[in-house]
Symmetry: C2
Subunit: 307 residues, 2 copies
C-alpha cells in the first residue's frame, strides 16, 4: 500500500468521448491547464481515432501540444491502431494506451477488431515505437477492457484475461492496466484479478486500474486496488464518461471523491481539492446539460480537512 | 471475512427521522412487510423518542407490534433514555440501541446528554433489562455515534472512542456498534478503529457498523469493515437518512447498492434484489419529493447476476 499515488485524469478522453456535446478546443485547453494547476500530473488528453466518428476528440493533437507545455505533466492518449500510434508519436505523447477488450464481442463493436487483430495491431505499434530514438520513446500501455465483466457478454473468464495479458506483454506493451469498462467489478474480484494478472505478467507490469461507478462500488474497488499496491488510478472530473459500445455503463469514478478518499486515508495525490472542484465549471459551461456526479462537491470538504 | 452477513435496514428509523414528510402508519407497516418479504431479517423500526419532537416516529410501538408478527424478523428500536427503554420493552423489541455520541457537543445537541449522563442512562437501562425474565430480555447495543468524525467538532480522538467503548461495556451493553453518523469515515480508519475497539471491548462485542455516504465512501467503508469480519451492516433503502443535529450529513449507505456489492462478492444476504428494489415504491408514494439514492436501481441488475 503506497502513501502516494497518481491520479490519471481521463475526463478529456473517456469523459468527452461519451458526451453528446463537443467542448470547444480553447475551453478544453483551459480545463487541462486548470487540472494541472490543481495538481494533476497525468492526463489522458484524447484519443487518436477518426474525427468523423468522434468529433469531440478531433483536436487531440492540439491538446497533446498544449498539455506538453505544462512542465512535469505526463500526457497520455489512446490509440486504436498503427495509424493512431503514428499520430500520437508525431504529436509527442509521453504514453499511449491500446484498449484491448477481453470481451471479443465488445472488441468487435468498439474497435472492429478480433483479439488476433488487436494483438497484431499492438505488435505493429510496439515495433513502431522501437524505431524511435531511445530517449523519445513513449511508454506503451495495454488496457485490458471489460476485464471484470461485459454488459454484452456478461461474465468474463479470468483465464481469458490472463491469456490476453500474456499476449499483450509478448506483443510488446510496457505495462498492463485492468479496466472495469462497465462498472461490474467488485472489490474481492479486483484484488484477485490484480494478483493473478501479476502472476502471469510480472508484478511490475500491472500498476494501474481504470474503474467505473455504475453500481456505486467504484471507490470500494479503488480501495481494494490500493490495498494491492496499485499506483495509478484513472478517474474523471464529475464522473464524466461511460462507453458508447457498452449498454448500461455509467461514468468513470469521480476524481473529486477518489481524491477525497485518498486524502482522508492519509495518501498523497498532490492535488488541491478546492482547485480541483473549481475545475467543474469547465464542464458546467462547456457541456451544458451533461450530468455531473460526485458527493464531495455537494458535501463540502470536511472542516477538519480544509487546508 | 464472512460469506454470509446481516443487513440491518434502518430506513424506518434513521431514514424517516430525517425526512420532512411523515409516512402514514399503514404504509410504513406495508413497507416493513415488503422488506421482510424481500428477505430482510433485521429492521430498526423506530425510536422511542418524544412524539412531539419526532412525529414521524410516533407510531414506533405499533411498528414493533406489527414487525413482531413476521416470523424470524429481528426487531430493533432506538432508545435515548430509561423511559424509551420501558416503552421498548413494553412493545416487545428484540433489541434496543442507545446512541452515545463520542462528540460530546453532538451528544448534547442530539440527546441533550453529557457523556456522564448518557453512561448513567445506559446503566439504568441495563438494570431495567436485567429485571426482565431471562428468556424475554432484549439485547442491548451501545452505538458509538460520530466515532469517525463529527461535522461540529471535526476530528474525534480515537482514545475518546475507546474510553467510551469501555464505559459502555462496563455500564452493561451487550454489544457495541461503530457509527459514522456524518459520513466522514475512510476505509483505513474503519479497519483501524474496529481493531482497536475490539482490543479494549473484546472481539465478540464489536459486530456491527453504521455507515453514511456523504462522501461516496460508504461502500468502501463497508468493504473494509467486512474484511475485518463485521457481521451486521446498517443501511437504508434509497439511502434515506442523515442527521438533524449534524450539518452536512447525507443519507445512510444505500441498501440496494450494499446488497449488490455483497452479492457480487459472493457473500450471502438472504435478500432478493428485485423484491428489494420494488420496496422503493413505498418511499416514492409515502414520501413524495424526498430524494432517493442508489446506483443499482438505475443501472439494473447485471445480466449475469439475474436469478
Amino acid at each position: 500500500m503506497l502513501n502516494k499515488i497518481t491520479i490519471s485524469e481521463v475526463g478529456p478522453r473517456d469523459g468527452l468521448q461519451n458526451c453528446r456535446g463537443v467542448m470547444p478546443t480553447d475551453m478544453k485547453a483551459r480545463w487541462i491547464t486548470a487540472l494541472y494547476e490543481a495538481g494533476v500530473r497525468e492526463i489522458e488528453v484524447g484519443s487518436f481515432v477518426p474525427p468523423k466518428l468522434f468529433p469531440q476528440l478531433a483536436d487531440t493533437a492540439e491538446m497533446v501540444a498544449h498539455a506538453k507545455t505544462l512542465p512535469g505533466l505526463r500526457v497520455l492518449a489512446l490509440v486504436p491502431n498503427l495509424r493512431g500510434a503514428q499520430a500520437a508519436i508525431a504529436a509527442g505523447v509521453d504514453a499511449m494506451g491500446f484498449p484491448l477488450s477481453v470481451s471479443e464481442t465488445h472488441s468487435k463493436k468498439n474497435l472492429r477488431q478480433t483479439h488476433d487483430q488487436a494483438v497484431q495491431n499492438v505488435r505493429q505499434i510496439a515495433a513502431l515505437i522501437a524505431t524511435q530514438p531511445k530517449d523519445q520513446r513513449p511508454s506503451f500501455e495495454g488496457a485490458l477492457s471489460t476485464a471484470f465483466g461485459c454488459s454484452i457478454e456478461g461474465v468474463i473468464s479470468e483465464e481469458t484475461v490472463l491469456r490476453l495479458a500474456e499476449r499483450l506483454i509478448e506483443a510488446g506493451v510496457d505495462e498492463l492496466g485492468l479496466s472495469d469498462t462497465v462498472g461490474y467489478a467488485n472489490p474481492v474480484q479486483v484484488k484477485r484479478l490484480i494478483r493473478r494478472t501479476r502472476e502471469v505478467a510480472g508484478a511490475d507490469k500491472v500498476k494501474s486500474v481504470h474503474l467505473h461507478n455504475s453500481y456505486g462500488q467504484g471507490l470500494a474497488n479503488a480501495f481494494a486496488a490500493w490495498e494491492e499496491g496499485i499506483e495509478t488510478f484513472d478517474s474523471s472530473l464529475g464522473g464524466l464518461g461511460g462507453c458508447p459500445s457498452s449498454p448500461g455503463a455509467s461514468g468513470n469514478i469521480v476524481t473529486e471523491d477518489l481524491v477525497q478518499m485518498f486524502h482522508a486515508m492519509g495518501v498523497e495525490t498532490g492535488i488541491n481539492m478546492n482547485k480541483l472542484i473549481a475545475c467543474r465549471r469547465f464542464l458546467e459551461e462547456g457541456l451544458p446539460g451533461e450530468p455531473l456526479y460526485g458527493f464531495t462537491p455537494n458535501a463540502g470538504i470536511p472542516k477538519h480537512m480544509v487546508a
